[in-house]
Symmetry: C2
Subunit: 337 residues, 2 copies
DNA sequence: CTGTTTACTGCAAACGTTTGCGATTTAGCT
DNA sequence: AGCTAAATCGCAAACGTTTGCAGTAAACAG
């Protein structure tokens, strides 16, 4: 492995000059710089990132932590899209990505051992015990999604319009005449579940209507569980006339349950999906969907984190990426006949 | 940030003793060891990984590179499953994961700059220009999937039974009476496409039958393209009676095309899917599937790579993870009436 | 009590960089 | 030519560890 000293010896200059030449800093004669660069090329020189990190106190790596999650949850295309967004910005800004899934120890230790310069926590849970430590220790951190308003501490976050989206979707369904609208949620420690349920309730309230608790079901974010819950709902004496499914993991389960009973969408039941998967287009009929711009969220998260690392602060602590309710053919007026 | 020197000063011992105590090496009095550990705890000490790496010439990170891939290709649950497998073994063995997507420079530079101790290349393409460099420079490397037999160089690899699976599936279809079997492939620079196409052809040949080139279609691994190609196939004067779809990205396109024409599965056309997604269970009818054990492949890849890093060599250079053809209801005898 | 092994301890070098500072050269002006 | 300012250059320290080696103390055997 070639080092700066070897280049220096071969070029007949001191190694501080080599360093300056390689980092194209000022204070080195053009001819020397040229010569150094040539030799570096020839020797296939690559700077030793650890040595560099040691003196500069910066390693150029973003930690991406995905807290303890089940295997089925990780199948969610959410993570792929997010990683793609994070990676693209990180690449452009000269950072690498360290991926940490299901790690059993504190997030902060990654930072304290100088493996990463900052951390983004994906699919953040309200009860994640390690976030307070990140805040206390001043670790550059971005959480996705953010905490509800008025939370006890303030961490930079990136969100899509979780609240507005669901609010719009429910309002839309209410306007179509639906009143018995089921909501297949995830666990209530997920910020997504919390915020989206709030929006669900608010949409009813703002129209002077009552939602019914029995139509609100917490899943474990798996297809299987969504299938089960949807079965329960359809077995009710007064089954819902519409259902909204919280993410790409639950939607297939919901659809499967509906299809397996031979129910027609939207004549017998309207369906609204939330997610980033474009599998929804596959369904028959195409699903009315809250299309979550996950890749964009990932890009923004990387951007904010890098700003946090480099400037020590960020201009916008809570970024919101706009999204949209895409109305397709799985929703219809109620009653339908 | 606490350092070893601070601990040393506080404990009143030399910092070599502290180092030995922390790495529980021999040669330090039990009482001192205890004291050191207490102080380390109290000071929230974390070893500086760069400093460690500098002297030990080992950073404890596996590079996971996903070569230039399109956004839609990365949606494939393949990657999630793989990362889960890699991560679980890496965690257990004390390694971290560096995720590199779509990087524009050579894979080897990651290693040369000491960012990683070794590299696994996912969804390796036959024409990836950076693999030879990894081989030449003796970088600990595992590719998934491997190269075809007799390839010009030999890189450790992990595969599922790509060949056998397709061979079995085609044989199964032939036994059902099918002769016009379409194959929706990916690009022919993908090792998956190459190997699986070989198996397709061999299955025909070994039964003394002829396959027809017109039923073999190369997609770009996208749902959209699969939809288009399936449309083309169904428009033929003699459309295929069965179709096999190469991965989780193409299958939805294939199904969508079939469904949108109101064709019945398996009465009008039999379908075999290849993939790791369990979305296939969602379809009606449930799909006959070559279930690819991607997470296992990921686990094996990490295991081999770590062995390569630590021992300098590995016992088994080409690991094959067994998989299975799961026959469900999307395949039937032909002709069906 | 002496000699020998064993367990512990600390010094200092090494890993490959960056960077402040002083020394030296070069360039620019009169 | 003589003076000043600017550009270039190299020395050496520093970053936080690990580790070989030599030295010291303790334990043990004779």
């Amino acid at each position: 492995m070639a080092t700066i000293k070897q280049i220096a010896k071969k070029a007949g200059v001191s190694y501080s000059s080599v360093s300056r030449a390689l980092n194209n800093q000022t204070g080195v004669r053009p001819e020397i710089r040229k010569k150094v660069l040539e030799i570096a090329q020839e020797l296939n020189y690559h700077p030793h990132s650890s040595a560099k990190a040691l003196v500069q106190n910066r390693i150029g790596v973003l930690g991406v932590v995905i807290p303890r999650t089940s295997e089925f949850a990780f199948q969610n295309p959410y993570y792929s899209h997010m990683l793609l967004g994070l990676s693209s910005v990180a690449n452009d800004m000269g950072y690498h990505l360290m991926l940490v899934i299901n790690q059993q120890q504190s997030h902060a230790s990654l930072y304290h051992s100088h493996l990463v310069d900052g951390i983004v926590v994906l699919a953040n849970r309200i009860d994640d015990p390690y976030i307070p430590e990140l805040v206390r220790d001043n670790v550059p951190t971005v959480v996705v999604p953010g905490y509800p308003d008025g939370w006890e501490f303030d961490v930079p976050s990136v969100n899509s319009e979780n609240y507005q989206d669901v609010y719009r979707a429910i309002t839309y369904l209410l306007n179509l005449g639906h009143r018995d609208i089921a909501f297949i949620l995830g666990g209530m420690n997920s910020n997504y579940s919390l915020v989206r349920l709030d929006a669900y309730k608010a949409a009813f309230r703002d129209k002077g209507l009552e939602y019914k608790d029995k139509y609100i079901k917490e899943s474990d974010f798996s297809k299987t569980d969504a299938f089960r819950l949807m079965g329960y709902l359809l077995n009710l004496p007064d089954p819902p006339s519409a259902v909204i499914s919280i993410n790409d993991a639950t939607t297939p389960g919901v659809l499967h349950q509906i299809n397996s009973r031979g129910l027609r969408i939207p004549e017998d039941i309207s369906v609204v999906a939330i997610g980033c998967s474009d599998l929804v287009d596959l369904t028959d009929p195409p699903l009315t969907t809250i299309k979550v711009p996950v890749t964009q969220v990932g890009r923004a998260a990387a951007r904010v984190l890098i700003e946090l690392i480099e400037k020590g602060d960020c201009r916008e602590r809570h970024v919101v990426i706009p999204s949209a309710l895409v109305v397709r053919e799985s929703t219809g007026v109620w009653p339908s006949s």
